[in-house]
Symmetry: D2
Subunit: 290 residues, 4 copies
């Protein structure tokens, strides 16, 4: 049967386990807490598992950030540290690798703006290190790019990123994008990290060329936030049938999506900064009062 | 029985007519074409009709703008002229009345941004007339205000508008806001004009104090664009049952909402300018190439 | 002789003292340190002093924030606390007075954007207290408004503020605006607090109706940042003569004005929040890395 | 003697002709009218001329757009057509060459925002031609990129542009940037087109790697708008002496720079679209009422 549409490995596994014939060979799942934040690791280690979950073989970490969504007083610090810890677990060992953070998506469409808005938070150091190594030599070189939208640039995100790789030679890509989930409950309350790259625009817009080790020649860690459920997916879930055609052009998002995107962009941006740079101080932000 | 949630009088009437006992006393409906644009007028002339449709007594004009949504080559000019004609039909007779255009909604949430973005298009003349009457004396005095959002100002839109009325004494309010529809098909393809005022935020956020002749002391013409369907409404329509609770916090919007809002804000802004000022030239914009 | 153009009381006094006949009756000046930040208080206590300095009688505090301009590591915290302390010294005694923070100026012109951008940082509480007094009852009621620009609203800032006062009844106004200085050295490195109100747009645009106790009926504390020198003032300073006419339409600003405005808006916004609300935690932000 | 700082060839030539020994071998100058707009062509055809004017050998066209600055009723149409005609005179002959429009400068600093804001106006067609050649095959392929700022990306504009060239293979670059002039009178009232490329940031920020045929491998046509005079240049002009050091970090701009940048971005964007695409309709915009 045809899979229900989700970008989350954890949802795909969950959905499969609910089916009558639920064996998931080559898929393992573990859960633990980090800073009081629930973390789930799904590992897909076989071609069969990859085919069943419609996701490439690799490691997927999902953080449960409903404390951020509820804007609990200490949620910001806890989430930033948990995210940095999870991200470090996926980073290649060599500490000093240079990194390009790519924000995918459309800044003008609120549920698709998380990528560009994370880029706004990134501590960019590459130019500082080049111009004043005596002051900034201890930082890891980081550059950042909001890749823009095909409709306003005429350029695929993949073309732009490949071009930057050829010129600036980052050794690792962090790609941040909005995702589609199956469950409305997960919207803006989870973050998925994966070491298998990303297909830009799979969350909101049309699907594009993949960004991964094969297409870019360097490792790509994806950081995704489910911000939408496709209305067609919701309709099928509710009715058990294919929805109306017009719903396929519709998305379901939370009413307070602006607040959620703003908070999550800060959490993810600071989490990336903390993972990439040693000994950084993270301010103690109360999301509710920020 | 409890009404399905819609801000559109035309949908409310349509829904009621589908019910077993479908008499709609005190509600009349007419349809015609203006510049090739379909216009529907619903008039509610009795308390009974108002109660059945859950809308105040008054006149509601709905323009069918799917030509704009399809970005047909001459759609912009046709829609602007049709909208200006419909708006003029609702304007009080005295030509020179001063007007305050109020954009309701949250600029940072794409489906809720239509009000503030229409304000960006308004030809503001009040200050010009005051400072250089010899050049601008033939214009109608127009001021414009994006009322902002309670969460970032601490002020209700109604408080702000009443304050401006006390100070600047506009004789007519045009209030532009996003609306909720029942049918996904109507999203971003219709505009409703009404002479009975508006309840801000009924489309996207929480409902606030009404803006109308009773609360403000001057006539209020509302211009509304349906940009969302409440996910709970969609679920009830699909399943015939009350939806899950979490869906009540979710909205359904078109995937290309940014393009739709951008186009509609131009159409409505120029339409208002053309209705309010005599002999204005409207540029010939091809939405597809703009 | 005609005064050189400056909005800073401290510069006006300095200029006057350099003149041959330099008596400044009814003007006192004191200096001290707060959190390592230099503070100067100029008090104008006579009509003669007011006439000589072309400033109303009252108290003017100037903070020397060149540590912020140099982005020293602990400058943010020090500046926020010094600004809050100075602001508290000007606040009327009664702790719980409700406050409206007004950001004057044009968000689209970088050196004039400091007012609206401070408003973005304000902790707005009025609506929270009204809707959930059990949680927020201990906060002081604060609302905030970016007054916009006459050319795009057709409304004077003063009209808008008076209207809000009539509706929402704040008991104190804090008005934030960009100022003109005489010395390029002071640009973006000082903040002036004063208890005598403000004339909007005196920094960048055309001068408007004053906002003060006389015109608004409630006390007005002004917070001003010099971000421009008028090019005509600079030319007169350099040449000792009246400059060319075209220079009167020109402004002098720092090259890195975007960074300066961004930093100062955070310092002033957090400083206001700390002064208005008891026991607020201010995050430890390194401006250089933010 | 050391040249006074200007990016305008026409100013450099004018300045040199005022000097005692004013021979300018290998520099020719012609003037004419196009659509009532004054056009000046400076051609530098020798190394000696290039050294004297501190500009590379090539052709520089300057349009006098003070009618736009005064917002005359028909200025928009006239300026767009004159700019398109001048730009076509510099385009390589082969009509169908693909073009990348690069907007240089910082969107957040008003006088430096003209490059990114022109990009907002560009009719981008490359992706449409690729995906629907049957509808868009008659258009010239155009892509567009706002290159961002080193401080927020860690990437030089030149790196980004070279990367895009390697991936998307445009055959011609149009680079739009803010320039520095010597005379305050020219600010926002002239546009310079040149076929010798550009050094990004020479107008406002620090000077970067040149974008030209030598560094990029494809022809580069520069479109520059003088929006600032360096305060040091102004001071030297006024006093005949080197100015104070602090002035070297200051810029002089018009007070109404936001309006000027907004108008000029539209004129240049539509002018580029008209030059690049055959038979495009340009809307009849009254800048004053827009």
């Amino acid at each position: 049967m045809s899979m229900i549409r989700t970008d989350l490995a954890v949802e795909a596994a969950e959905f499969h386990r609910q089916q009558p014939d639920s064996a998931l060979p080559g898929v393992t799942q573990e859960e633990w807490q980090s800073e009081g934040i629930g973390v789930t690791r799904v590992q897909i280690t076989s071609q069969e598992g990859a085919a069943l979950l419609e996701k490439p073989e690799g490691t997927y970490l999902t953080l449960e950030l409903s404390a951020v969504k509820r804007r609990e007083a200490d949620a910001f610090q806890r989430a930033v540290h948990a995210l940095a810890e999870s991200l470090r677990a996926l980073l290649p060992e060599q500490e000093s690798k240079s990194v390009l953070v790519v924000g995918l998506g459309n800044r003008l469409v609120t549920p698709d703006a998380v990528g560009p808005r994370v880029v706004d938070q990134i501590l960019v150091t590459r130019h500082l290190i080049a111009h004043a190594p005596e002051h900034f030599g201890s930082f890891r070189p980081v550059s950042a790019l909001a890749a823009g939208v095909l409709g306003t640039t005429g350029l695929e995100s993949g073309e732009l990123v490949r071009g930057v790789i050829q010129q600036a030679h980052p050794e690792l890509i962090l790609a941040v994008d909005a995702l589609a989930a199956r469950s409305a409950q997960r919207l803006c309350s989870t973050v998925q990290l994966g070491d298998t790259g990303i297909v830009p625009g799979s969350g909101v817009g049309n699907s594009r060329q993949a960004l991964n080790q094969q297409t870019l020649g360097v490792p790509v860690i994806a950081i995704g936030v489910p911000t939408v459920v496709e209305a067609g997916t919701l309709a099928r879930d509710l009715t058990g049938q294919q929805g109306e055609d017009e719903l396929s052009e519709m998305l379901v998002t939370p009413k307070d999506i602006d607040v959620q995107i703003s908070d999550l962009s800060k959490v993810i941006g600071y989490g990336i900064n903390l993972a990439l740079q040693e000994g950084l101080d993270i301010p103690d932000i109360d999301l509710f009062l920020s």
